[in-house]
């Protein structure tokens, strides 16, 4: 039996890329920087690298803690570490903050070389495809010709899937968790409510709020509250909060009464303290635009036909943001294009957030899959 441990104290690295990057929106970034973290050792033949792509509000900080923040483990610390399902004794694991992000990679908060001021809302729109291109530059920088696996949940899963489409020779396995091949109108509608909350905040200033010394905290909070509703299942919310009242009885007030209000307000209020509104806007648009089948007449099978990776697709029974049915669309397209694919539908109560939890079957599936990759 493995004894799982933390990767311990980690620190991020930064890579600068001076070659211009042409983006899907038609604009070109003259150069850019990516902040990343690595765990474990790259082996001699550079065959054990695993790229982990983050979702909407994630970062490059996957596992371990920073020396000055011992209580802030990486967002996938339960999965990644020595003896854990994604075992850093065997794999060289890389987390990267996406382009347009707010954790140190080039994004709206960085300085636009043309103006000497922060990009703000002028930072170009970036897509999943652009992220994959920028991650490929990072792979070049680290001397990685081919990833043993690219892994991600939700929006991260879309990046893993697109790695297999954009760079079929550079990825051996794609692990696509709680994801979807494209957003539905309902998914886009939730994103639009979140964006409108930010865009209509008087402190938004057309996206140039940095110059005004403010942040659109109210809008960003509201966006986060909407998001959190979609991350949980009806059942898990009921289980967590039910109709419990803070004061035990109605007090006929708009102050916090129901526990679920307290939870949403707390999540909403702390979010602007660590996340940037322009990044939130950009990232939700990247989600909305994602549709690899669009260039193939809507045929996902055709879009995936170039892939040569083995796939693992995982969904969660109570996830209604990206339901099991959405994962099955990916699986069916892979089956029709004759790809190697396994699919697990995990019975977990926690909705979309399940992919961040350590359900034993879920982690068992990932452990077994990664064990086979390690050989």
């Amino acid at each position: 039996m493995n004894t799982a441990a933390s990767v311990g104290v980690v620190s991020p690295s930064r890579a600068r890329f001076d070659a211009p990057l042409a983006l899907r929106c038609g604009r070109t970034l003259p150069g850019f920087e990516l902040v990343y973290e690595t765990y474990g050792q790259l082996n001699a033949d550079r065959s054990n690298a695993v790229l982990v792509c983050h979702a909407l509000s994630g970062s490059h900080h996957l596992a371990g803690t920073y020396a000055d923040q011992p209580d802030n483990p990486g967002w996938w610390d339960n999965l990644i570490g020595p003896g854990k399902p994604l075992d850093t004794n065997r794999f060289f694991v890389i987390g990267v903050n996406n382009l347009g992000g707010c954790y140190g990679s080039s994004g709206p908060q960085s300085v636009n070389p043309a103006t000497g001021k922060p990009w703000g809302a002028d930072f170009p729109f970036v897509t999943v495809e652009d992220w994959v291109d920028s991650q490929a530059r990072l792979a070049d920088h680290l001397g990685i010709e081919r990833f043993a696996a690219v892994v991600g949940g939700s929006l991260g899963g879309m990046q893993a899937m697109n790695w297999a489409i954009q760079y079929p020779d550079r990825i051996a396995h794609a692990v696509v968790i709680a994801s979807a091949p494209r957003l539905t109108a309902q998914n886009i509608a939730f994103n639009e409510v979140a964006r409108q909350a930010i865009l209509k905040d008087p402190d938004f200033h057309g996206g140039h709020y940095y110059e005004h010394g403010v942040v659109p905290a109210r809008g960003l909070s509201q966006a986060r509250m909407v998001g959190h509703i979609t991350y949980l299942s009806d059942d898990s919310m009921d289980e967590k909060f039910g109709r419990r009242l803070r004061h035990g009885k109605p007090i006929y007030s708009y102050d916090v009464e129901f526990e679920v209000e307290s939870y949403l307000r707390y999540q909403g209020e702390k979010f602007p303290g660590y996340f940037d509104a322009n990044t939130y806007l950009l990232t939700t648009k990247a989600l909305d635009y994602y549709d690899p089948a669009a260039g193939h007449g809507g045929d996902l099978t055709k879009a995936l036909s170039v892939a040569s990776a083995d796939f693992l697709v995982v969904s969660f029974s109570t996830d209604w943001r990206f339901s099991p049915g959405r994962s099955k669309e990916i699986v069916n397209a892979l089956v029709h294009s004759d790809k190697r694919v396994s699919y697990a539908e995990i019975d977990c109560h926690a909705g979309h957030d399940s992919f961040l939890l350590d359900d034993p079957l879920y982690h068992g599936v990932l452990r077994a899959y990664f064990d086979n990759i390690a050989g």
Binding site: K328, S342, Y343, A368
Partner: protein
């Protein structure tokens, strides 16, 4: 192990090298592994039970966790050369539905099942107890089986449903049974096609 070697060998003999196959109720994936070794098949197992799905992943099998009671919606017609269901048909409620689905997504189907009319089973019933045997290893209160049928029942259903029996073999403890299979055989295997 529910799977017997003779079951594997017969199934392999009905499959051409390099075929695309789908194995419904694939368990830990050992049949697919065997067919991969001896027939170089490509394909997928389907297994809804979590521990068995996990075992298939451990064994490096392409396994899809799907509920067969829901059919094979999403899989295209004629996507596979053979769709196999080894010793699982009796554990599915929607018998006609799954047989139709197998012959929709596959050119042919291969089905094996325990024969409830096997003489030892009959003897057990005559003695007043539900049969427990090599092919029916569970007690009545914990069996996963939900459909109880015989070789004669199955052949009658095939006739009713327009399913062509292309080949059939019956076994008693690994030995081929030629005479009176509905009495003498504990397990039957069929290669099925579409009549209409």
């Amino acid at each position: 192990m529910a799977y017997q070697r003779y079951d594997y060998e017969v199934i392999a003999s009905w499959i051409q090298p390099g075929e695309r196959v789908l194995d419904l109720g694939c368990g830990d994936g050992s049949l697919l592994k065997y067919l991969g070794d001896v027939r170089q098949v490509r394909g997928y197992g389907v297994e809804n039970e979590p521990d068995r799905m996990l075992a298939s992943i451990r064994n490096g099998i392409n396994v899809l966790q799907l509920d067969l009671e829901q059919g094979l919606a999403g899989i295209e017609d004629n996507a596979f050369d053979h769709v196999i269901m080894s010793l699982s048909l009796q554990a599915i409620h929607n018998t006609q539905g799954i047989l139709a689905e197998m012959l929709r997504v596959g050119h042919e189907a291969v089905v094996s099942f325990p024969n409830f009319a096997y003489w030892r089973h009959r003897q057990s019933i005559i003695n007043g107890r539900m049969p427990v045997s090599e092919s029916l290893p569970h007690q009545w209160f914990n069996t996963p089986n939900v459909r109880f049928f015989t070789i004669a029942d199955f052949e009658a259903l095939c006739a009713d449903e327009g399913i062509a029996i292309r080949e059939g073999l019956a076994f008693d403890e690994g030995k081929v049974v030629v005479d009176e299979p509905n009495f003498m055989a504990s397990v039957a295997l069929y290669r099925l096609g579409r009549d209409r």
